[in-house]
């Protein structure tokens, strides 16, 4: 049984101009200790689906799913109180902006010890010991001093380490990292990624890495799920995905990697992810797809078989003749 299983998750937001579907029928499963990457451009609903699972969306969001279970709990049936017992303890999340994700009015020590008291019920001394230990684990020098400072007195990279320390404080079974390196300097990015993968390997927790950077995926993940405009368009093992992408969107993302560029100009994907008002009738990627024909524009495709990476496309790429659907 997988640690996390989600079937047909949809999230709608009530906006002043009607309903907006941010996540559309996502399936997802993560095993214990696994590292899954979710890839997609901004606005493709990667973060929203994870926030929905954690129960962190505002009240304007309506969440529906056929299955949403974590570690034997049915998340749909859980009351807020029971959910809070899991969230922050067994399931933790770190966010994109380390500078604004920490409360500016409290010291880092206060913020990390707060979680320790809530979920583990440690006494004051034990909390302090554990906090120092956690800061050492995430590579913060002089942890005793750093527990006493406010977030704005440290760099973004240091703050992200504090966020990671806070997230793993209670020994979570699943850590969700929502673009953890996007807001950081390039040199720091690699350090943070190494830290995350290292922690995942050592502690045996599962890690979901949300990113828009295919390069990051290649270096770290085992399995990749590609999302586009709120839908999952493809899912494969990393090596297979890089070898034989089946969805044109995946292929385009890969082609946009500098390492893979064949010509002098880096290929780009023209256009942007469709928003609330320009959602196409057929395949959501059709306006930007160089292979799209009339059928793509008229009729939304269903996911292909697992041999084709579940690609949501009428004409999957690299299809071997014997498995063509």
């Amino acid at each position: 049984m997988p640690l996390l299983e989600i079937r047909n998750l949809s999230v709608d937001f009530a906006t002043s101009s009607g309903q907006f579907r941010a996540v559309d029928g996502i399936d997802l499963s993560v095993d214990k200790g696994e590292l899954l990457a979710i890839v997609g451009e901004s606005g493709s609903g990667k973060s929203v689906s994870m926030l929905a699972m954690m129960g962190l969306l505002p009240w304007t969001a309506t969440i529906t799913a056929d299955v949403m279970s974590f570690d034997g709990h049915d998340l749909r049936a859980l009351g807020p109180r029971q959910r809070r017992r899991i969230v922050g303890k067994d399931m933790a999340m770190i966010f994109q902006e380390p500078m604004s994700s920490l409360n500016p009015c409290f010291t880092t020590g206060f913020q990390i010890k707060e979680a320790l008291r809530l979920h583990l019920g440690l006494d004051r001394k034990a909390r302090h010991r554990r906090a120092v230990e956690l800061f050492e684990m995430v590579g913060i020098p002089a942890p005793e001093d750093r527990l006493k400072v406010f977030p704005h007195q440290m760099s973004g990279g240091m703050n992200q380490r504090v966020m990671i320390a806070m997230a793993i404080a209670c020994g979570p079974k699943l850590l969700i990292a929502d673009e953890p390196t996007t807001a950081l300097d390039v040199t720091i990015q690699a350090q943070i990624l190494d830290l995350l993968t290292g922690l995942q390997r050592d502690s045996g927790m599962a890690l979901i890495l949300i990113t828009h950077d295919m390069g990051v995926v290649a270096e770290t993940a085992e399995r990749v799920s590609v999302q586009y405009a709120g839908q999952k368009v493809e899912e494969q093992k990393v090596a297979d995905l890089f070898e034989t992408p089946h969805h044109p969107y995946t292929a385009a993302l890969l082609a946009a990697l500098p390492e893979r560029a064949t010509s002098r100009h880096l290929p780009t994907i023209p256009g942007v992810v469709p928003g609330q008002f320009d959602r196409p009738r057929g395949c959501l990627f059709s306006p930007r797809c160089k292979f799209a024909d009339d059928r793509c524009k008229a009729e939304p495709p269903a996911p292909a078989g697992s041999g084709l990476g579940l690609a949501r496309c009428h004409y999957p790429l690299n299809a071997r003749s014997e498995v063509s659907a």
Binding site: V87, G88, F95, S101, P104, C105
Partner: protein, 335 residues
């Protein structure tokens, strides 16, 4: 931090001189020369008039007069009341505790109700409670408090007979005023019922004086909370599995307090303006009533000195608020 305090003090000084200049100018702006004004309606003989002009130095050049006035102010010499013949400085500080006691009660009342109201409204944004609380706040904000006082007197003193109409304590009790704070003095006097009498006398003035600050604080708390609630760190706090009470009441409120404290500090001026009306209506023997009475009695040294002392009080409170602001906002403190 020291630099911060010093820079604040530096802006304090020119304002202080400006305020002394205004209170100095006040008595000279009145129609007629100062001695005629000071002599009041009884009039004064020509010789005595000339004598006094020299005695008080009113025949000196303006600059010298101002310098002498400033020297007096710094030494606590603000002249004496024409009516009671007591030094203005002494009168002010005899009456000030009464105003301070009332103001403190009003602020406590306003904060105790306004903060929770603002938080509840923000958390329930757009729902029934939010609308109810914010409409009430707007009514409070628009309230002519002198009328509000009369209404409360009609209801609580007239119909229900629960509260007295005026004064600080029932005439049955008499004891020396040690601290000037009736609540403390009545407790220390040990007389039966004295404390409760003082409390009863305080209730209506407190509500009247606290109404507008209450409305302002509730509105400000709500908008500050709304802003804070959309911040990333609130999501982080919720991601830790903290209960809503802790997320809203600790993580959000602590940040929302920064602008709210400023508003509370700034309402001190409003409070003193309100004290003028409240004290007049409830015959509360504080500096507000003292000022109004003095204006009516044409007791100009009192008006002049009171004006200066009140402005300096407001300035000192604003200075304290500024520093408090630096203290509660870590970003300023450690800069």
């Amino acid at each position: 931090m020291l630099k911060f305090i010093l820079s604040r003090l530096l802006t304090f000084l020119p304002t202080f001189f400006g305020v002394t200049l205004i209170s100095f100018a006040f008595i000279r702006l009145l129609p007629g020369d100062p001695i005629t004004v000071l002599a009041g309606e009884r009039g004064i003989s020509a010789e005595r008039h000339a004598e006094l002009m020299t005695e008080f130095g009113f025949d000196q050049p303006m600059l010298i007069q101002y310098w002498d006035y400033l020297k007096g102010v710094v030494q606590g010499d603000l002249g004496q009341s024409l009516v009671t013949k007591k030094p203005v400085w002494d009168e002010f500080f005899t009456l000030f505790p009464a105003t301070l006691e009332l103001s403190i009660c009003a602020i406590i009342f306003a904060v105790a109700l306004g903060l929770p109201a603002g938080v509840i409204a923000a958390v329930n944004r757009g729902k029934f409670f939010d609308r109810l609380l914010m409409s009430s706040a707007l009514v409070g904000y628009s309230m002519p408090i002198f009328w509000w006082a009369l209404l409360l007197i009609i209801a609580f003193s007239g119909w229900l007979g629960w509260t007295p109409v005026s004064g600080r304590i029932s005439l049955m009790y008499y004891f020396d005023s040690g601290t000037g704070f009736m609540l403390i003095d009545s407790l220390r006097s040990g007389q039966d019922g004295a404390f409760w009498s003082a409390v009863h006398h305080l209730i209506l003035p407190t509500i009247v004086l606290g109404t507008i600050p209450l409305a302002v604080i509730a509105r400000q708390t709500r908008s500050a909370m709304l802003e804070v609630l959309s911040e990333d760190y609130i999501r982080t706090a919720r991601a830790k599995g903290l209960a809503p009470f802790r997320v809203n009441g600790v993580h959000a409120l602590r940040n929302a307090l920064i602008p709210v404290i400023t508003v509370i500090g700034l309402s001190v001026g409003t409070l003193l303006a309100g004290a003028i009306l409240t004290e007049t209506i409830f015959s509360w023997p504080g500096i507000g009533k003292w000022m109004v009475d003095s204006i009516f009695r044409r007791d100009y040294p009192v008006v002049q000195g009171g004006l200066l002392l009140i402005a300096v009080m407001v300035m000192i409170v604003n200075l304290i608020v500024d520093m408090l602001y630096g203290f509660i906002n870590p970003k300023i403190r450690k800069r």
